[in-house]
């Protein structure tokens, strides 16, 4: 018996061994596929981030050129008793041009002069005007002043332009390169942190453009979105979860809310245009309308996550509250909601993060606009960060390439902060 069984057992155990081996191999293969999938995802993310960061980081520095400016009253055409209005209207551009000519007296031809004037930013004349407006005592004095460099000169100073390439192939000409090298050798150029990028609105000159209007616009828009979507979303979730009867109607509502979450965002933009702007005649380009439209978009997200959070509250908490004599309303507001709150907030923050990154519905309601003055309220014209990125990406000036990437970095920074907050809240929730 043994002799007959022995080989059979060994063949069956060999078969099992072999199949085990195959199963292990299959598992290992699957694990490798999984790792490969994760790796591919990371590689793409890395390429994207590396591309954006490498293009965007130069935008955070700004180049300055020191120019000796003689605030000559005659050149400005100002008398000693000039009024503030006259000071504001004076010809500061002429002043800058003269100062530049004095620095490079050898420049005589018209085309060379034009190139020379292109070294400093168009904003320099407004910088000088503001200085004189603040302190009229400057008139008649000579000062060494750091003026913002033109974006093309700036890109050379940042080392983005190869001086040995063909002159026709670049915006900074040989003559300008020569001047900039001389200035640098004399210590008259400086690189500083670009505060303009955060304190200025949009501009057509890359070196003067900033994201202030977009930041304010995004803030006001999200404020409106939050104050509409959060109370309505949470109320709807509480009612549907705790009070509504289970019947065909509530089933239908539930299905519709889930469907609404999948509606393309541009549809909400069309709705906003038709209803809020054309029918209610709310102003175009205002964060008020943008916020309302985005709140419609985030409502389903908030309702769905809030319901899930309320559902996951242990029934024992409800029963205990009802057991000691609390009313249904008291149970919900005093016991269920506080426990569900971290989950509700997590969902809301993720919904708001979606709203922050959204641009498509805002295209329809006129928020794709050139706006220089920061909004002071929810009805002033404004734009938002993703739309500002879209506008800059479409600008012909080369200097906007780095601004585009820098604005993307700022937007991603905000998204990371918001998502990190959501994760933190969820972690706290899990501990309870």
């Amino acid at each position: 018996m043994n002799s007959t069984n022995e080989p059979r057992r060994s063949t069956s155990s060999a078969a099992i061994q072999a199949s085990l081996k195959r199963r292990y191999a299959r598992e290992r293969r699957f694990q490798w596929y999984g790792r490969l999938a994760v790796l591919t995802g990371f590689v793409f993310l890395f390429i994207l981030l590396a591309d954006i960061v490498s293009k965007g980081y130069p935008a955070f520095t700004q180049q300055y050129i020191m120019v000796e400016v003689d605030f000559d009253k005659e050149q400005l055409g100002l008398a000693a008793d000039a009024t503030a209005e006259q000071i504001a209207d004076a010809d500061y551009l002429g002043l800058i041009k003269r100062s530049l000519r004095e620095m490079f007296p050898e420049v005589t031809s018209r085309s060379e002069k034009k190139q020379l004037y292109r070294l400093v930013s168009m904003g320099a004349e407004y910088q000088l005007r503001d200085m004189v407006m603040d302190d009229p005592g400057l008139l008649g004095q000579t000062r060494e002043i750091w003026l913002q460099a033109h974006s093309e000169a700036g890109s050379y100073l940042k080392g983005q332009v190869a001086a040995d390439s063909d002159q026709a192939d670049r915006k900074v000409k040989d003559q300008q390169v020569l001047w900039l090298d001389q200035l640098r050798a004399a210590g008259r150029t400086e690189s500083r942190f670009n505060t303009t990028f955060f304190t200025a609105g949009d501009s057509r000159e890359p070196e003067m453009a900033g994201i202030k209007v977009a930041l304010y616009g995004s803030f006001f828009t999200l404020l409106v979105t939050f104050f509409i979507a959060f109370p309505i979303g949470v109320s709807a979730a509480v009612y549907l979860e705790e009070f509504a009867p289970r019947n065909r109607l509530t089933d239908l509502i539930e299905i519709n809310i889930n469907n609404l979450a999948a509606v393309p965002s541009i549809v909400f933009g069309l709705l906003g245009l038709a209803v809020f702007i054309n029918f209610f005649e709310l102003p175009r380009s205002a964060p008020l309308v943008g916020g309302i439209v985005l709140s419609l978009m985030t409502l389903p997200t908030i309702i769905i996550t809030s319901r899930a959070a309320i559902q996951s509250v242990s029934p024992s908490i409800r029963e205990a509250a009802l057991g000691v004599g609390a009313s249904k309303l008291q149970t919900v507001f005093h016991h269920v909601l506080p426990v569900a709150m971290p989950g509700i907030l997590t969902g809301s923050i993720i919904g708001m993060a979606q709203a922050l990154g959204e641009s498509a519905p805002l295209l329809m309601i006129g928020m794709v606009a050139f706006i220089m003055d920061a909004p002071t309220g929810i009805t002033d014209p404004a734009t938002v960060l993703p739309v500002q990125i879209y506008l800059w990406a479409d600008s012909p000036e080369r200097g906007f390439t780095e601004k585009t990437s820098a604005a993307i970095m700022v937007l991603m920074g905000f998204l990371i902060v918001m998502n990190a907050l959501a994760i933190y809240l969820r972690k706290r929730f899990e501990l309870k």
Binding site: K171, R204, E281, F370, M372, P381, D394, P396, R398
Partner: protein, 382 residues
């Protein structure tokens, strides 16, 4: 309880904001400008200078496209409608009528300059030298074949079109049909090229009354008679030979040789730099800003440069306009001042800041006339 209070406060705040908005509707203090994405880079420069150098607020400028802008502009009079619309083509009669019907009766037309449309390829590739006829034969959907009948465009390479051109595959990146640049390109380049073909030129010259001749010309081209009837129905009256011509000349091929690359001209430039065999279609300002990456093709012996477009030598160029709603002048502060800044020598003159951004300026006498029109607010009649 506390939550109720919060909700009530939020609600009342929102209602308050809404009523405040409606109250504001009567008077807005920011100029509202809409319209062409081609004029946008120039209008924004003026707006920025205007905002910085005067006490008026900086105008708000939306990029909606020429057609979309005129639609908004013609919707009516009032603070909820734009004051100015930019356009990369002249206002159409139908749009003008629409404006009149909605109470926008007085419109001031301002011609601001010209824009060239370039056909460019990567600087690493040789410059293309071609005629508008070559452009038409390379990109039209149907072209007259050997027997004079229209056939689906058989050309695969540039050499097929014209033996002097390189033997590379025809691959042209251009804007989609919604773009004003595309309209202008179809009208000027494709239409101009089609005119070089005698049969099509003859068709174009036929008047509305010559129905029999038009039908005969169409039969010779092998076109179904239904095209004429469809055009007649669409127009509501007998079409001219030119209308039939336009349907042939403006149709761009859809077999992959013409690639719609979206409205973003920067994207087209990037794609051209990466693919030396492709050509791209975009406005002159993008060609000028990206002179290190791409160069413009020579069309009919003329290179697209600032001077050739200003002289009118370069054939593919179009006028740019903006339109002012006269009813708003004086109600919304700064409209006329903005228009005067736009038409000033400092901005639009040959050494002004707009030509520096790539706008092709008007001749001196034209500029003087435009400036006078703005000063006197002369209205347009069509």
């Amino acid at each position: 309880m506390k939550k109720h209070l919060v909700n009530a406060a939020v609600l009342s705040a929102l209602i308050g904001a809404t009523t405040q908005v409606q109250a504001q509707g009567a008077g807005r203090d920011t100029i509202s400008i809409v319209g062409s994405s081609t004029v946008y880079p120039f209008a924004t420069v003026v707006a920025e200078r205007f905002g910085r150098s005067t006490d008026f607020k900086t105008p708000k400028i939306e990029s909606t496209g020429s057609g979309g802008g005129l639609k908004l502009f013609c919707k009516g009079v009032g603070a909820n409608t734009p004051d100015i619309t930019n356009s990369s083509r002249r206002i159409k009669k139908s749009e003008y009528d629409d404006c009149q019907a909605n109470g926008v009766t007085e419109i001031v037309e301002v011609l601001i300059g010209y824009d060239g449309i370039a056909l460019a390829n990567a600087s690493s590739a040789p410059t293309f030298k071609m005629s508008m006829k070559d452009v038409y034969l390379a990109l039209a959907k149907d072209i007259p074949g050997a027997d004079g009948k229209l056939i689906a465009n058989p050309h695969k390479t540039w050499k097929d079109v014209n033996p002097t051109l390189p033997a590379t595959r025809i691959e042209v990146l251009g804007p989609p049909p919604t773009s004003g640049t595309r309209d202008a390109f179809a009208e000027l380049a494709m239409g101009g090229g089609a005119k070089a073909i005698p049969a099509l030129k003859a068709l174009r010259s036929l008047e509305a009354g010559q129905e029999a001749e038009i039908r005969q010309a169409m039969a010779q081209l092998g076109m179904p008679a239904g095209v004429y009837d469809a055009l007649k129905e669409q127009k509501g009256k007998a079409p001219k030979g030119e209308d039939v011509f336009n349907t042939i000349a403006y149709a761009v091929r859809e077999d992959g040789a013409y690639i719609e690359a979206g409205e973003n001209d920067n994207l087209i430039v990037q794609k051209l730099a990466a693919n030396p065999d492709a050509l791209g279609i975009f406005g002159f300002s993008f060609l000028e800003e990206n002179g290190d990456k791409v160069h413009g093709s020579v069309i009919d012996g003329v290179t697209p440069t600032f001077d050739t477009i200003a002289d009118g030598d370069y054939p593919i160029s179009r006028p740019l306009y903006f339109y002012i709603k006269k009813a708003h002048v004086g109600k919304i502060p700064g409209i006329q001042e903005y228009a005067l800044e736009f038409t000033s020598e400092k901005a639009m003159g040959e050494d002004g800041y707009l030509p520096e951004k790539g706008l092709i300026p008007l001749a001196d006498d034209e500029l003087a006339k435009v400036e006078a029109d703005v000063r006197n607010m002369n209205t347009l009649s069509m």
